[in-house]
């Protein structure tokens, strides 16, 4: 049904979105914790930085990533020399760009779920002999699961369609960084590519819808188990 090139684009999109979620999830949990419960002074600044990708043009994010993670960039150079990891023009780089762009969505969802956790339950666990890490992993984190799942699925669905930052940072390389939206864009730039563009658009539409439905389904199930 799909041509190998189309399949490639779908597979790439799914894999890049998945990798971006896996990488950013733990960080998002930590950041959400710092923003909600942390007593650090630069909270407002951290909050602003986290939300920047929402308000910046994606091309700017891609450009900043290029400056930082390019082979000449401070972090990129170190990664290359120390570990031989190159992010520019690779699917890993695409995952990084996607992670940065979807990060605010994820932090928001997780933060909401953390704010909904009753600190009284943590106090109760404390009186029952649970130390800080114990409390976090047995009480707080499990109670945040609905928000974490919702955040992960939303970020995944949004990540499937990340365009501007990806094309700026890792370019449009078939089989490496040409995800669905990039393939769609390429098709539109090619004479006679309208049919292909329409097919790719339909696939994106279907994937996005699936993501949102899954998120809703998971959230409902979790709420039921928790009796809310």
């Amino acid at each position: 049904m799909l041509t190998p090139a189309e399949l490639d684009a779908v597979r790439l999109s799914l894999s890049i979105a998945a990798r971006s979620v896996i990488v950013s999830l733990p960080i998002a949990i930590v950041v959400a914790w710092l923003l909600t419960r942390g007593r650090l002074r630069g909270r407002v600044v951290l909050d602003a930085i986290v939300h920047l990708p929402l308000v910046l043009p994606p091309v700017v994010v891609g450009y900043v990533l290029l400056l930082l993670f390019g082979v000449r960039g401070p972090i990129g150079q170190w990664l290359d020399q120390a570990f031989g990891i190159r992010l520019v023009f690779t699917s890993s780089g695409a995952a990084l760009a996607t992670a940065v762009m979807t990060f605010p969505l994820m932090v928001r969802a997780i933060r909401l779920s953390l704010e909904a956790v009753d600190p009284g339950l943590e106090d109760a666990a404390r009186t029952l002999g649970a130390g800080p890490w114990d409390r976090f992993f047995t009480i707080t984190l499990p109670l945040m699961v609905p928000g974490i799942l919702a955040g992960a699925v939303t970020a995944f669905a949004a990540g499937l369609g990340e365009f501007g930052a990806v094309i700026t940072f890792v370019s449009n390389i078939p089989g490496e960084t040409r995800t669905l939206p990039l393939a769609l864009y390429t098709a539109l730039q090619t004479p006679g590519g309208e049919a292909l563009a329409a097919r790719l658009a339909s696939i994106s539409f279907a994937l996005g819808l699936c993501g949102l439905l899954v998120a809703e389904f998971l959230a409902r199930r979790m709420r039921r188990t928790l009796g809310r």
């Binding site: 009284g120 339950l121 404390r126 009186t127 029952l128 002999g129 130390g131």
Partner: protein
């Protein structure tokens, strides 16, 4: 011995209390809402930092700000039952119960899982989740969870306040069993005197952050600070007694109180059992001579030991009915004058059997 001394400034009042009571026993912290009871309990648990605090249970000092001792909450082994139960919603009842048990840092657990399940009637609930429980069931699970953490002390912060009267009645017997069967000291916070009457061995009356009076319930029950909280109508002496005999056909029991016998309605009384009765001041009738031909079941001889004139033209008359048991009657000033009441005067106290509230209460030998 349980020793607690806490000082803490808050925006609206200053908490400053000092309590020293024998263990085990049930200490009731009684007072209006907002008088600092919960603040005090949170300081004992360590959830709130007091300005100055000393908390010791028997030989174990949990906090002594003077000596820079502050055992972290999670190491205090204080079982805390919150007003709102605070069961973990993502766990079954079983997992909730095991949570504290698993974390109890103690070589020889003295509270056994099966015992707690039997004591609190939790067998049927074990596989349920908190949202499937009624309010009363939740509190029973919360009690069990706290008990299984092998506590040195139990803090019960108005565990019945969120329940309606029938649910309260459903949980109270379990609290009585807890007090009688386990040797764990309990601090019980309440603003319902009924609960204090049924549970406490020692009463601390709090008012605006300070202790208004404290002591055994018999003395505290006659104190003006208590009267100010429960109201004049609910005021009355509380006495401990032993059931001398009972008549199952009528449900009337004869209770030995002071040097006399008080008859009251206690259907499931057993001779020899300890009971606690409350004689409301407004229900007592005083007579200068023994009377005949009245329906009143109780006529007790005593001596007037105190007369207090109240603002609204009434008098509170305290009568010693022997062996240190003192009851208190409220009458109009006019009646008092007509009878010529004065101190040390012999007097008869009359009270209807149906006016007496009695509760089985196993008094500890402390």
């Amino acid at each position: 011995m349980l020793r607690i001394a806490v000082r803490k400034r808050r925006a609206d009042f200053a908490l400053d209390v000092s309590i020293e009571v024998p263990t085990p026993g049930t200490i009731a912290l009684f007072g209006r809402s907002g008088c600092g009871k919960t603040t005090l309990v949170n300081c004992i648990a360590g959830l709130l930092q007091a300005d100055r605090a000393f908390v010791a249970i028997d030989d174990v000092v949990l906090e002594d700000t003077g000596a820079n001792v502050r055992v972290p909450v999670e190491q205090r082994r204080i079982g805390y039952v919150f007003q709102d139960a605070r069961l973990f919603p993502h766990m079954t009842v079983m997992a909730n119960l095991r949570y504290g048990e698993r974390r109890a840092r103690i070589a020889q657990p003295f509270v056994d899982f099966d015992h707690v399940v039997a004591l609190l009637g939790l067998r049927e609930l074990l596989n349920r989740r908190p949202h499937e429980l009624s309010g009363g069931e939740k509190q029973r699970v919360a009690l069990g969870r706290a008990l299984l953490s092998q506590p040195r002390l139990m803090l019960l912060d108005e565990p019945l306040a969120a329940l309606d009267a029938p649910r309260r009645e459903e949980v109270l017997p379990y609290l009585e069993r807890l007090r009688d069967e386990l040797q764990i000291p309990i601090v019980y916070v309440s603003h319902q005197f009924e609960e204090v009457l049924r549970l406490a061995t020692h009463v601390v009356v709090m008012d605006r952050g300070a202790i208004a009076t404290q002591g055994p319930i018999e003395t505290v029950s006659r104190h003006s600070a208590l009267r100010a909280i429960v109201g004049d109508e609910a005021m009355g002496a509380v006495l401990n007694g032993v059931i001398a005999s009972c008549d199952p056909s009528t449900g009337l029991a004869a209770v030995q109180i002071g040097a006399g016998i008080v008859h009251t309605h206690l259907p499931d009384a057993v001779p020899g059992a300890h009971v606690r009765v409350q004689l409301l001041a407004r229900d007592l009738i005083l007579a200068t001579h023994a009377v005949d031909g009245v329906s009143v079941r109780n006529m007790i001889a005593g001596t007037i030991v105190r007369i207090e004139t109240e603002e609204r033209g009434t008098e509170l008359v305290e009568v010693d009915i022997g062996n240190g048991a003192i009851v208190v009657a409220r009458l109009t000033r006019a009646a008092s004058v007509a009878l010529g009441l004065r101190l040390q005067m012999p007097i008869w106290v009359l009270v209807k059997a149906v006016s007496i509230q009695g509760h089985a209460f196993r008094v500890r030998a402390t």
